[in-house]
Amino acid sequence: MAELRPSSRSGKDGIPIDWGSLAPLRLRARTLAEGVYAGGHRSVRKGPGVEFGGHRPYVPGDDLRFFDRRALLRHDRMMVREFETETDRALWLCVDATASMAYRSSRAPGAKLAYGALVAAALARVALSTGDPVGLAWLGGRGTLPLPASSGREAFDRVAGALEGAAAAGDASTDEAAMERALAPVARRARRGAVIVLVSDFVDLPERALSAFSALAAGGRSLVALRVLDPNEADLGFSGHVRLRASEGDVVVETDAEEVRAIYRERLAGIAERWSTELSGRGGRWVESVTDQPPADVVRAVVRAVAEARA
């Protein structure tokens, strides 16, 4: 994966994840996952398979191997037997590790990246517990280790180890192709039926990020976008006159917090609206979270969104 332009604030080695009270990741992820039951997720997609999926009227061109002679004799109607298609149930976690994800305010239990990693690890645990393989991809970051989709007993440790070893770095705000590069391995490897969860703050992604991500839905994949915001980011938690510097890009703003709070919230909601609309149109889902929320609620919300996306 080509690296992003380093952020002016993240330094050469990136910003180590501020886990705060979210550590240790593995233990907390397991605990979280135990409280979440994903349930069976049979594919509703019909096609060649081993398990009978029901009848449907014959149409010319259907494979005659599946023509049900018995139904013709019994009901005098031409029917075709259907079987559930074998689908890829892999969960691909794409985690944003750009510099902005290292932000943690005094009101948050940990950095956004820590929170996102915890949710991602919990999701991985849930997926692995149902036998689905889990893959890992990164947007930005330093020391990040992409993982191919794999299942099995050691898969969770690999995912958790990769998440623990990451550091926030890189500036995606000006790199239009950053998202394509990050999702390229996922696009190549994820097959039809795979679920791709993008964990990001979505505040400084490039313009083409939405189109790049939503394009993944074309291959029969399910998309879920999870926005992780710090409490300060959610409500512009400042007062009076402040001078704010963005983590990515050279944006410095001097403003009166009370005066611009409504406009800020409006713009934040605008981003969510745009992503949500686009994803909904492609069967995907948009989930929002704030790092002072209980992570279990977020994991459940994501699992629910995944279920809805697969439905």
Partner: protein, 677 residues
């Protein structure tokens, strides 16, 4: 660049220090990381607001504190603008403060054109007099003399400072001419009676008395003269409309402009203040006619046509303004013609070697006193013939017949002014001829035991009195003591005998001079005092005869009237009628016109308009010289001894307390604001 300039610049920098401190303290808000910063709109107006001063009152107090600190530090260089007196060994002093209340003192203190609100020299002089009075101690004596013509005593020598303050408060500016010599003589006279060893005359004047080439002021006297304020010295240029007469449909305005002030001896060339100016005839604020002035006018009569249907109340004004605005406008009055003066002179005995009319006629013509001189062969015997004249001069009187005396005394009582000069003919008076009641008693002619007059007794002649010390008379007339009874002795010989007497008779006056007006008998007609005598004579004739037009400072006389009231009419819109007190002096009722303009007189119910005009000699802003000793620093000055530091320190302390209070209030306010938030 002087040290004072550098110091002033440094003080200015220090005053700016609180602003700089505020800006430094203001600094930028502390930068905070915030990933979605690009979603936050900036608020520029607030940023600008931050750069503004947050607490103006606190800033003002701090700036003032810095300024006062600077002043406190510079106290050795700071002099209070207060006129102070240096005492000799701390002894008490007797001061005679001469305040010039003449027209020229209305000029602004700073050079340039006068304008409402500008501080005038008169105001500065009056303020300085108050400062002087404030600095006096117990035991000091003060007299106040006014220098406007004629010089007057506003307050005789007193140690009562409340009276001094009251007298100074009562002084008003006037349009009078300047009489510095008379004022100084009065001041010295007032100081003569005080027991103080240190006696000083303080002259607060612009020194423009119309005699720039006269002897320097302050010389020839043992009383110290102190002229403390050089900034009062007359400068600038001025033109004035001294009178405006309406004659046969034309207004003839006399415009007089001041010559340029230049050191004496630098040539007689003058540059007038008339360049670029015009004379305008106005009524009710509208300009009816206008005529430009010549580029170098000293004194000129300008004729302006009066349009048909013009209102009665006309004024003539000059435009644009100059150093003294008050003399730029004069009311138009119907002309009464020149003052008729009859002269009875024996041409044979009073001829001059160079030919021409007798000296008396030549002098009257040369002096431009606006008098019409009519030589007569003999004194008219009939009162009706005399009624045509306002004044009569009879030289070397041989005596009058009883009829002549009767008609003359009747004419004088009705306001005529008579000048009788006595010569050798007085001793050869025909039988039955005499001078009573004009000059009671017998007048004798004989050799003169003295060679000149006492100049100190001849204040009447003003600065010209100096020349009377040596008259080299061949003989002189002597009067009976009865002649001096109830008469003013205006000048006396150095042996005490009267040289010039003035007797008031009814509404008129009689001057009696003990010398004839001929060069054969004495040098009197060659002395400046001769011209001064004629000037005063004509002035008296104009005033006594109920002259319609007098110079400001002279008095309207109302002899023979029971009910007299006089009011000054407003000259400009917004002014009010001003009642003038009529006082009885020496048995004569008179009202002094101290301001130019029209005066409405009611004499036993009859209304008449009289006019007071600006004396022409006042329109000369060339200052008179003073002796160098009069400006000596050891006499005093602008209070070098007054230490302002205690007052400054007290003020500074007050400012510190004020700042503490403001800070406490500010903190309280901030505390309550944060609690509310």
């Amino acid at each position: 660049m002087s040290f004072a300039t550098i110091a002033a610049l440094l003080v200015a920098l220090l005053v700016a220090a609180p602003v700089a401190a505020h800006l430094l303290r203001r600094r930028q808000a502390e930068e905070q990381p915030f990933p979605p910063a690009k979603l936050v709109p900036p608020t520029k107006p607030l940023a600008r607001r931050r750069s503004m001063l947050e607490d103006r009152s606190l800033f003002a107090v701090r700036a003032l504190s810095v300024l006062m600190l600077a002043v406190l530090g510079a106290t050795p260089f700071v002099r209070c603008a207060r006129l102070g007196l240096e005492r000799k060994d701390g002894a008490s002093v007797a001061l005679a403060i001469v305040i010039d209340d003449s027209l020229s003192m209305r000029a602004p203190l700073e050079a340039g054109t006068a304008a409402p609100g500008k501080r005038t020299k008169f105001e500065r002089a009056l303020a300085s007099a108050r400062e002087l009075a404030t600095g006096l101690r117990s035991g000091d004596a003060v007299a106040v003399v006014l220098g406007g013509a004629p010089a007057r005593v506003a307050l005789a020598s007193t140690t009562n400072m409340a009276a001094v303050t009251g007298a100074l408060d009562a002084i008003e500016p006037s349009d009078r001419a300047t009489d510095l010599d008379g004022a100084l003589a009065l001041a010295r006279e007032l100081l003569r009676s005080v027991p103080h060893a240190d006696r000083r005359v303080v002259l607060l004047s612009d020194l423009a008395d119309g005699a720039p080439n006269a002897a320097p002021l302050g010389g020839g006297s043992d009383t110290t003269l102190w002229v403390p304020l050089p900034e009062l010295e007359a400068t600038g240029r001025d033109c004035a409309v001294t009178r405006a007469d309406l004659r046969s449909g034309k207004v003839r305005a006399r415009v007089v402009c001041s010559p340029e002030a230049r050191p004496v001896g630098e040539g007689a060339g003058v540059i007038s203040a008339s360049a670029g100016r015009a004379v305008e005839l106005k009524a009710e604020g509208k300009v009816l006619a206008s005529a430009p002035l010549g580029p170098s006018v000293r004194a000129e009569e300008v004729a302006l046509d009066v349009p048909d249907g013009a209102p009665e109340d006309l004024t003539v004004g000059l435009t644009p303004g100059d150093a003294i605005l008050e003399d730029d406008e004069a009311p138009v009055v119907p002309a009464g013609g020149a003052l008729p003066i009859a002269v009875v002179v024996d041409v044979a005995s009073t001829h001059v070697a160079t030919g021409g009319p007798p000296p008396i006629e030549q002098a009257l013509t040369a002096m431009h006193l606006d008098a019409e001189v009519r030589p007569l062969p003999a004194v008219p015997d009939h009162a009706d013939e005399l009624a045509a004249f306002a004044g009569l001069i009879v030289d070397d009187v041989p005596g009058f017949t009883p009829e002549g005396r009767r008609s003359l005394s009747a004419w004088v009582e009705r306001g005529g002014v008579l000048l009788l000069t006595f010569g050798p003919r007085a001793a050869t008076a025909p039988l039955g001829a005499g001078f009573d009641p004009l000059v009671p008693g017998v007048v004798r002619w004989g050799p003169s035991p003295s060679q000149g007059a006492d100049p100190g007794s001849a204040v009447f002649f003003g600065p010209s009195a100096e020349g009377l010390g040596k008259l080299s008379p061949d003989g002189r007339a002597s009067f009976d003591p009865a002649a001096a009874t109830n008469a003013d002795m205006l000048a006396r010989w150095d042996d005490g005998a009267p040289l010039l007497l003035r007797r008031s008779l009814g509404r008129g006056a009689v001057f009696a001079l003990s010398l004839p007006l001929t060069v054969d008998e004495s040098d009197f007609v060659l002395r400046p005092a001769f011209l001064a005598l004629l000037d005063r004579f004509v002035g008296t004739a104009r005033a006594r005869g109920g002259a319609r037009q007098i110079d400001v400072g002279d008095a309207f006389t109302f002899d023979g009237f029971k009910d007299v009231s006089i009011e000054r009419l407003p000259l400009r819109a917004g002014e009010a009628r001003q009642s003038i007190p009529v006082v009885e002096q020496d048995g004569r009722r008179r009202a002094v016109a101290s301001l130019r303009g029209r005066y409405e007189v009611r004499l036993d119910g009859e209304r008449a308009i009289r006019v007071a005009t600006v004396p022409e000699r006042e329109i000369d802003l060339r200052p008179r010289r003073v002796i160098d000793a009069a400006r000596a620093e050891e006499l005093g000055g602008v209070a070098p001894s007054i230490d302002a530091s205690p007052y400054v320190a007290l003020g500074l302390l007050g400012l510190v307390v004020l700042e503490l209070f403001l800070r406490a209030v500010g903190q309280k306010r901030e505390g309550s604001a944060s609690t509310t938030a």
